[in-house]
């Protein structure tokens, strides 16, 4: 009986160490919070949150949006390409950036100006057109800046250990066509399997 004590104690201790405080049952957690699942090969929600937070912080600190004659700056979101092997909507990044910029009072995003003439809000664009027709003048809002970018993935592997780097590249272009601010946030994740937490 005694000789079985060591393996039993070891198993109990190991399972205690590995299990932590988590349980297998479904429950709600903070989106992008400390309990979020972190994967190696995918962009997780907390990665979008971190990239948006860092990008907006640097953009506001640079003061590029403050250099407009009539603040707040008008921003149009251009193309943000997903160059990763994963399918996701890039609005997961751009919407977070837009919300933060809107909250800061430093920029307003137009929903009637879009790439190839496609408005994000078609009704708003139609109403804007009707108003302009009634007033017989072209008083449409032209953006001070456009925001474009790419999300790029770089993978590496050493034995069982996998590594992924996701680069969130953003450019803020003014009316002259010059990139007045550029930002790049890189998030590198390494591991053998997904885990809970950062």
């Amino acid at each position: 009986m005694k000789k079985h004590l060591f393996p039993v104690a070891l198993v109990a201790l190991t399972s205690f160490v590995w299990s932590g405080c988590s349980s297998g049952g479904a429950r709600r957690i903070d989106a992008g919070g400390r309990e979020s699942v972190t994967t190696v090969g995918h962009v997780d929600i907390q990665d979008f949150v971190a990239a948006a937070e860092a990008s907006v912080g640097k953009l506001l600190a640079a003061g590029a949006l403050d250099k407009v004659p009539n603040p707040p700056a008008i921003l149009a979101v251009s193309l943000v390409r997903n160059q990763t092997g994963q399918q996701f909507d890039t609005d997961l990044l751009t919407k977070k950036i837009r919300v933060k910029l809107n909250t800061s009072g430093k920029a307003l995003t137009t929903t009637t100006v879009g790439l190839d003439g496609v408005a994000e809000d078609p009704l708003a664009k139609q109403l804007q057109g009707e108003r302009e027709l009634e007033e017989k003048k072209r008083a449409g809002v032209t953006p001070d800046f456009t925001l474009s970018g790419k999300i790029i993935e770089t993978r590496a592997r050493a034995g069982d250990v996998r590594q992924s780097t996701f680069s969130f590249q953003l450019s803020l272009t003014d009316k002259r066509g010059l990139a007045v601010w550029e930002g790049e946030e890189e998030i590198t994740k390494q591991g053998k399997r997904p885990s809970v937490g950062f």
């Binding site: 005694k2 060591f6 070891l10 201790l13 992008g32 919070g33 948006a52 907006v56 933060k100 950062f198």
Partner: protein, 145 residues
């Protein structure tokens, strides 16, 4: 029997601690900088509430430097130093408050991870999400991964 049992538990505990510490290699950082810095930091007087003394001992908050962005937003830079010789991981979260003490933008505040090497000093930056932000609070939580 009691002695054997104590030895068994002690052995298991030792094995577990070896397993836990196996992945943490000692890596420390050497630095060099100009002896007479030209920058003048505006360090704010801070108030600390320590509930995790272990984390506070390992990752020590040296101070908080405050400045304004060109657009008038408050910008803070928190200087933290890893006082141990091993790599430490933690998350931090900056909360902002207006003049009335109300928390602003709580739904968009991010919990951000940070990895700091042994004896390394790092600077964590944050910009206030709104011109009305007057005060801030930073939470630090030890991370297991």
């Amino acid at each position: 029997m009691t002695i054997r049992m104590t030895q068994t538990i002690a052995g298991a505990a030792l094995l577990a601690s070896v397993l836990l510490s196996g992945g943490c290699k000692s890596t420390t950082v050497n630095t060099v900088e100009n002896a007479q810095p030209t920058a003048k930091k505006e360090m704010v007087a801070d108030k600390r509430l320590i509930t995790d003394a272990d984390l506070a001992r390992k990752v020590y908050v040296v101070g908080v430097n405050e400045a304004k962005t060109p657009g008038g937003l408050i910008q803070i830079q928190i200087e933290v130093v890893n006082q141990t010789s091993s790599r430490q991981r933690f998350t931090y979260h900056v909360q902002w408050f207006d003049a009335a003490g109300m928390q602003l933008s709580s739904t968009t505040g991010a919990i951000l991870p940070c990895v700091i090497e042994g004896k390394e000093t790092r600077y964590l930056s944050a910009v206030a999400p709104h011109p009305a932000c007057k005060d801030f609070r930073v939470q630090f939580i030890e991370s297991s991964h």
